[in-house]
Subunit: 358 residues, 2 copies
């Protein structure tokens, strides 16, 4: 059977003041459509995977908000990590959990906080990906055709094509966050694709890969039969999961394994990693601004994003390439090209005014 694992435990504060540690990005109704990014992720995968086969891996603190946002997901499908250990341990756990229910299962792993504009293309890619990994011991990652030499992404280089599966290639190399010149070369070559963190494999294939390439995690999470997907699971995880090393799936498995493939795709993807990404993926006004959920009057403003909660009015003049983000707790007015500094600012806010604001 086909399963989906959605990772939704991240605590991103890059969209502060909109995202706070009590309500990070994946739980926000980012585009004012009435659905959070997590809800959109579930809605999007539902044609390919039944709700009872969707597993959510998250942090204990987000249990209530997930139950509220996703009433269709039964509680036993929500895996609560007792500690944050990056993506590798949680993917391994989810694979064990699913394999205990269905040893022949195939799995798609999804981030919960990305934007995908072309759903039909996405669904088709997932179907074709499932078809591919059901045929054997293969680890498949989706590679997004790059639109610009972004330096913040991981790049996947395609190798030889799989004749029977158009658009699927052996992976030749992974490169994390290249510098700008390197990224430009990558994009110009046509051989490199963005790593979107979307992976497909059989439960068997990924658990074998953990045994081989990440034996520490494999051994730490190796439980006797009759533990995973039973009432004994939470106690086992509580005791053992925190002992896992903190490592991403890319470093732990994908960059080491020899049976890694990439399916190249184009479906209007953005990781919405920060305000600039949100600006880039949103429709603009004639002045070149993006306005969200707010009544905005601008004069001599361009390249800026205006986001406010509720019914609030924003009047602004003379802002070029600015982020204006306003909630009932905090107001951020910051140059968009310095947004990487917002993380430090959030720490500063926390130190000076308390964690109630971040």
């Amino acid at each position: 059977m086909r399963y989906c694992v959605i990772m939704c435990g991240g605590a991103g504060t890059r969209f502060w003041p909109f995202s706070r540690s009590s309500k990070p990005k994946q739980f926000l109704d980012f585009f004012g459509t009435g659905r959070s990014l997590l809800q959109m992720t579930v809605d999007r995968i539902c044609p390919a995977v039944k709700p009872e086969n969707i597993i959510l891996v998250t942090n204990n603190q987000y249990k209530d908000i997930i139950k509220e946002q996703l009433p269709q997901i039964k509680e036993s499908n929500i895996l609560l990590e007792p500690a944050r250990r990056n993506t590798a341990p949680c993917i391994c756990w989810a694979a064990h959990h699913i394999a205990a229910m269905d040893p022949e299962a195939v799995i798609v792993n999804l981030p919960s906080d990305h934007l995908i504009l072309k759903e039909p293309e996405f669904c088709q890619a997932i179907e074709e990906g499932f078809d591919f990994v059901e045929k054997g011991n293969r680890l498949l990652t989706l590679g997004i055709k790059p639109t610009a030499p972004h330096t913040g992404y991981g790049y996947i280089q395609q190798g030889t094509a799989e004749k029977e599966y158009p658009g699927i290639f052996k992976v030749k190399s992974f490169t994390e966050k290249p510098d700008h010149d390197m990224a430009s070369l990558f994009v110009d070559s046509g051989e490199f694709f963005w790593n979107a963190g979307i992976f497909l494999w059989s439960a068997k294939a990924i658990l074998e890969a953990f045994e081989k390439y990440s034996p520490e995690i494999s051994q730490t999470l190796d439980a006797p039969s009759g533990v995973y997907a039973t009432p004994k699971e939470p106690e086992f995880i509580e005791r053992n999961f925190p002992d896992c090393i903190n490592i991403s799936i890319d470093y732990a498995i994908m960059e080491k394994a020899s049976n890694v493939y990439v399916k190249t795709v184009e479906f209007g993807w953005s990781d919405l990693g920060a305000w600039k990404a949100l600006y880039d993926s949103s429709p603009r006004t004639s002045e070149g601004n993006v306005t969200q959920n707010s009544k905005v009057i601008t004069k001599d403003c361009s390249g800026s994003i205006f986001a406010a909660e509720g019914d609030k009015i924003i009047v602004a003049a003379g802002l070029k390439d600015y982020i204006v983000a306003d909630t009932d707790k905090a107001l951020l007015i910051y140059p968009m090209n310095e947004e990487q500094k917002i993380r430090n600012i959030v720490n500063d806010v926390k130190n000076r005014f308390g964690s109630d604001f971040v």
Copy 2:
């Protein structure tokens, strides 16, 4: 006896979004001290005038907020204009009201929305002013020693000194809002002072001046005895006050009368006419910003004013000479040197989003 008339019916929206037509500037706790500008005006005059001799002239719509802010003022001392007719008619009405109670009364007229930093100097000036106008048929205005060639104020030129009253002069001329070159000449001469809208006179002197220089208003508000300061007053005013011409006391009386004097003073005055004036009169951070009622973190910001309601945090970077004013209804981010355009913006907001926001 000594009386005070405080004019507090203005509907200023220059401090939008903080001031709104439902709660204009005089009713705001501008400096976060717990007292509104109106309350500070009453507090300031109280050593010189007893609360039962303080008369408030305002618009009907502000009756409740005045009763709430000034419980020590009895309701019969609140004169409610049935229509807005600028300062001359309301000063004439208040003089009639007071004269009916005490024909020998002397009166100080005060705006309700100004800042005065040096209260002892202010109180002394008022005492000396009362002493002067009690001696005869004289109209006295206070003239503020100018600190810069502001073009937004009216200027009073001093004439011959009154020998027995140091600092008091006959007025030689009034000039409304000179251009910048003229204002510079005025300031350099040492003969010109800002018109602060603070006037002293006896009830008899000002009513005689109205008869002589503004006979239309005088006749419109000339009631038989037994009307003013009796239960018949509201009905008389309701019927007659709207027929008054709309004119300021400066044009109607001060610029025409021959018995006009100026007392030159220095007591840290600002009319708080707009954000720039508030900025100029407020203490600055080391970066040169003014922050009000809010938790502010700035980076590369200078010459700016940050104002927010309540406990809100503001984080801003790269703003030079900006107004950032945030309420629960609206957020304004505007260059300070364009603040005269805010009035138009407020109209725009009203037209587009409704009067609930202005």
